[in-house]
């Protein structure tokens, strides 16, 4: 049944592309129906899969001469991430309710992107995973370049090229792995048993890991992310930061770590404390955490603050992966889910609720608008989202980051210290943005005073309320009862780390 999330999304995309122009209402409701259908399937798959290991959903021979199969399977990690995609899809449609320009094409590209993402999370054939990974690139380009804002054409091309270069690196690794394993099969299960020579893994792992990590926003290949997130329309930013960056992290885990575990072994020599690819990527992750936080602290554009905070939070995911222990990797997967929800919520507030009404994202201008009085819903929604993203206990971010920090401490305490600095700076930039955008007492400029009396902001619409409630509610629920997800993630992580490829 889970496989139907993919088919439904692509079918929805095709139907929307063929809709005649002008039927905006129909387009919205159709897109919402498809997204809710996908979420329902994801929830059903999640519940049905509780307590199960890896289940194969579809296994059809695709190109028999090369051993390529259309192989879809789900284990705990996949089910959690498919659930995240379902939630992000519904929230994205809700927060795009007001799009009037080429509405049906917008939702067609949106659903095609969602379908590609579902496909990546459910693929267990390396070739199929790569196909879905690349399928997701083109809708992203069009979503940003047609419906985006600041420097959208530049941002869209940068994002497309970075993603494509990353996937080119993965393709080279895929071809090498396929050839080295004897060219029999591209199934992840078979390749996991192939037993590549250590010398091969030593160069193939960093190549594949870096290729996927580019999309995960690893420093220093992260520069596409803030530019892209800022330029993208709200729903696309929610998807990009919320789900698409997780594609990269998922690929790092499912392909990089699972297929080439010996690539992380010590090199035998050590250079300024770095003795293995694991050290390299962990340090890059910590740098990303701190760098993202520090740069977010000095931004003048509200959306850039959130964009850089995404880079910072993805650093936690990569750090957890490099801990390579049960708690660290579990924390990484939970952080993927948590950040997906929270990033979606933050971009929704900044983009849809604030920007569409105030028409500015500059903190200096927002300071003068007294938004806590004029948009109280946005203010308290951002307080919740900001606290959650800072890692306040009670929300999902706390559990995830705690696990990552503990996991990292068990390997090298200095990594945790660095990440901790990132958390402290995270508090700083969140409160700075919160204070400047909503709670500032700066005197209103003459222009702002006029508009305050002149016209009220548009009322908060029901899709916005529903979206905020959905996302904040999920984050709160997982924060208070993390076992709902951890019970599914932990066995899957255990199997992945033990089997070294299942």
């Amino acid at each position: 049944m889970l496989a139907w999330t993919i088919y439904l999304s692509f079918a929805g995309a095709l139907m929307l592309a063929l809709l005649p122009k002008g039927k905006n209402g129909l387009a919205r409701w159709l897109a919402l129906a498809v997204a809710v259908g996908g979420l329902a399937l994801a929830v059903q798959g999640f519940v049905a899969g509780m307590g199960q290991g890896r289940t194969v959903l579809v296994d059809l021979p695709w190109v028999p001469t090369m051993g390529v199969h259309f192989l879809l399977a789900a284990d705990g990690i996949s089910r959690v991430l498919v659930l995240l995609t379902g939630l992000a899809a519904v929230a994205g449609v809700l927060f795009s309710w007001n799009i009037e320009l080429r509405t049906n094409e917008f939702f067609a590209f949106f659903l095609a992107l969602i379908g590609g993402v579902y496909g990546v999370f459910l693929s267990f054939d390396l070739f199929l995973l790569f196909v879905f990974y690349e399928v997701a690139i083109v809708p992203k380009y069009f979503l940003i370049s047609i419906w985006g804002s600041t420097r959208r054409e530049y941002a869209a091309m940068k994002l497309a090229l970075y993603s494509f270069v990353g996937s080119a690196m993965v393709l080279i690794g895929l071809l090498a792995a396929y050839a080295t394993s004897g060219s029999h099969s591209t199934s992840l299960i078979a390749l996991g048993h192939a037993g590549f020579p250590v010398s091969f893994q030593m160069w193939c792992f960093p190549l594949v890991f870096t290729g996927f990590a580019i999309l995960a926003g690893m420093w220093p290949f992260h520069t596409w992310a803030p530019t892209g997130h800022v330029a993208a329309p709200t729903a696309a930013s929610m998807l990009l930061a919320g789900v698409v960056m997780k594609l990269g992290a998922y690929g790092c885990l499912r392909v990089g770590i699972a297929l080439f575990p010996h690539g992380l072994d010590p090199w035998g020599f050590s250079f300024i404390g770095v003795g293995s690819w694991r050290d390299v990527f962990a340090i890059l992750a910590v740098v990303g955490i701190v760098y993202g936080a520090l740069v977010a602290l000095v931004q003048t554009d509200f959306k850039f603050v959130i964009g850089y905070s995404s880079v910072s939070h993805m650093g936690f995911v990569l750090l957890g992966l490099m801990a390579l222990n049960q708690i660290g990797v579990t924390g990484a997967v939970l952080q993927m889910f948590s950040h997906g929800i929270l990033a979606g919520l933050l971009f929704a507030i900044v983009g849809r609720i604030v920007y569409e009404r105030t028409h500015t994202r500059q903190l200096a201008e927002l300071e003068t608008m007294h938004l806590s009085r004029r948009l109280p819903f946005a203010a308290w929604a951002f307080v919740i989202a900001g606290m959650a993203s800072m890692g306040l206990p009670g929300f999902s971010g706390f559990v995830a980051e705690l696990q990552v920090l503990v996991g990292a401490w068990m390997v090298k305490p200095w990594w945790t210290v660095g990440a901790g600095i990132g958390i402290v700076v995270g508090v700083a930039y969140t409160w700075r943005a919160l204070q400047k955008a909503f709670f500032s007492d700066a005197p209103a400029s003459a222009h702002a005073l006029e508009s305050e009396h002149g016209h009220e902001f548009a009322a908060i619409t029901w899709p916005e309320v529903t979206g905020v409630t959905l996302l904040a509610g999920v984050s709160l629920f997982v924060g208070l009862y993390p076992r709902i997800l951890l019970d599914t993630i932990e066995p899957a992580v255990k199997a992945l780390l033990a089997g070294g490829g299942q």
Binding site: V131, M157, I172, L175, Y178
Partner: protein, 526 residues
């Protein structure tokens, strides 16, 4: 000499020649007073019928080879197997380029145009089946002379004449180089038959003259496929030739040339029946083969790498979509040459025969992958030129800015453009992606040393670069605001052909085994 065999081996060529003569008779004899549209329709349909008849006639060939002396003498022409794949591809692609002629208005000499196209296609068919240097040369010249004429056909356009002049002068010189190289091969071996040349060289070992001859031959053939540094004719020709002619040049001549390269590389890596009887003689002969092949392959690989780099980098700077397609054709030729130029490394130790037996299947897979790539690339290119032709006719130029707002002016055409250009960039689930993946996997399957691996990495990296310039055109079609929103009309037949091509690209991309299994079935996979 068995003339029945000659007739059977050249059945498709004969069908096309008859069709060409019929077209001339019909157009110049019966339709002299008819309107241009009617003449074009009749000529194009007769041409397509000729291609269909040739395809139908291919089933009667029965894999027959025409030899000078029965039963096992040197062969002049072959048929069946890989040759049938290439010939069928040439016929289908020729039919599609003829269908694109339907709404063309660049010439009033329609009958002559279609006849030249058909005769050039005959040249292509000859090349695909040739087993002898002189037959190769005849076929190549028949194809090339036809292409020069086709390039010049738009008599009202100065660009067309200039392009044809450049193509002709360059091509004439390349043909001279080719013939010179062939003459050296004759001198080295005493025969013009491919298999006998290969035997003679394997017996005596490589000599400096042999390498010189090979370089001369690569010059001539490299010109045909527009590989660097023999590519300078391509941008001007693609820009100046009338659109259906450019489509023909970009597709059919590539298929024929690569079929030739495949048969040269297969013939020299996989000799036919070894003449000597004893196992030691066979071993010695095979060792000779493996002494010569690596150096020859290196030359091809250098040309391949240069083509990939220069083609992609030059395309980044183009403003004219036709020139962009030309430089991307150069890049694609580079990728395909990679599939031809790889070879398994034989260390010289152990049994050459066993190594040969082990090296054959991957080499066939590599050749099949090249044929898959060139056939699907030809199909996509014809579609791309079709779209460019429609836009050119409506807006008067093929610059990128003519495509502004295409999604509003003709949404179906814009969708076809999207599918075709993304396929050329190598985005799944379109056939261009599978063709590239198949080719690179086959290359690494043949030999997985550092050199082929680096070249595959280079190819993949430059595919990523190519996405930029394909997206530039798509950006104009879908993203940037239109300056002129009048709808663009396309002839229904043209639209039907373009839609069929786009559908085929999507279908073959989702189910690559459809074409792959047909090629594998026909090729001699042992």
């Amino acid at each position: 000499m068995n003339y029945a065999d000659l007739f059977r081996a050249t059945l498709p060529e004969t069908a096309l020649e008859i069709a060409a003569l019929l077209v001339i008779v019909a157009d110049l004899g019966f339709l002299r007073r008819a309107a241009l549209k009617a003449r074009v329709t009749v000529a194009a349909l007769l041409g397509v019928a000729g291609c269909g008849a040739a395809l139908w006639a291919m089933q009667f060939q029965g894999g027959c080879w025409f030899r000078l002396t029965d039963p096992a003498g040197p062969a002049l022409l072959g048929s069946g197997g890989i040759i049938a794949v290439a010939q069928a591809g040439i016929l289908v692609l020729t039919a599609l380029t003829l269908l694109l002629l339907i709404d063309a208005n660049f010439t009033r000499h329609v009958g002559e145009y279609v006849a030249v196209v058909l005769m050039a296609a005959v040249g292509g068919l000859l090349i695909a089946g040739a087993q002898d240097l002189l037959v190769i040369f005849i076929g190549l010249e028949l194809l090339s002379l036809g292409l020069y004429i086709l390039t010049a056909f738009a008599k009202r356009s100065g660009k067309s004449a200039e392009a044809a002049m450049k193509y002709y002068l360059f091509g004439g010189m390349a043909a001279a180089f080719l013939l010179f190289g062939f003459s050296y091969f004759y001198g080295l071996s005493g025969s013009t038959n491919l298999a006998e040349i290969q035997r003679a060289i394997a017996a005596t070992g490589p000599s400096p003259l042999f390498y010189v001859a090979w370089i001369l031959v690569v010059t001539g053939l490299g010109f045909k496929i527009a590989a660097v540094p023999f590519h300078l004719w391509a941008p001007d020709t693609y820009e100046g030739a009338p659109a259906p002619a450019a489509a023909f040049i970009a597709s059919v001549s590539k298929v024929a040339s690569f079929a030739l390269l495949v048969s040269l590389s297969m013939g020299w890596l996989m000799p036919g029946s070894a003449a000597a009887a004893s196992k030691d003689a066979v071993e010695g002969y095979l060792r000779g083969v493996y002494q010569t092949w690596p150096q020859l392959a290196t030359i091809l690989l250098v040309v391949a790498a240069a083509s990939m780099v220069v083609g992609n980098l030059a395309a980044l700077a183009q403003v004219s979509v036709r020139r962009l397609l030309a430089y991307s054709a150069i890049a694609h030729a580079g990728y395909m040459l990679l599939g031809i130029g790889v070879h398994s490394t034989f260390s010289g130790q152990g049994s050459a025969l066993q190594f040969f037996a082990g090296a054959v299947n991957p080499a066939i897979r590599s050749s099949n992958a090249v044929l898959y790539y060139v056939l699907t690339y030809g199909l996509t290119t014809i579609g791309a030129f079709g779209v460019v032709a429609v836009v050119e006719r409506a807006t008067g130029s093929d610059r990128m800015d003519s495509f502004l707002g295409l999604h509003k002016r003709n949404p179906l055409l814009a969708a076809v453009l999207l599918v075709l250009f993304l396929s050329l960039a190598g985005i799944p689930p379109l056939v261009g992606f599978w063709a590239k993946f198949n080719l690179f996997a086959a290359v690494l399957g043949v030999s997985a040393g550092p050199v082929p691996f680096t070249l595959v990495a280079l190819a993949v990296a430059f595919s990523a670069v190519s996405l930029y310039y394909y997206l530039q055109v798509l950006k104009r079609a879908y993203v940037m605001p239109a300056v002129d929103e009048t709808p663009i009309k396309a002839h229904p037949v043209t639209m039907a052909v373009l839609l069929a091509i786009a559908a085929a690209v999507v279908l073959l991309g989702c189910f690559p085994a459809l074409l792959g299994n047909w090629i594998d079935g026909l090729s001699p996979l042992r």
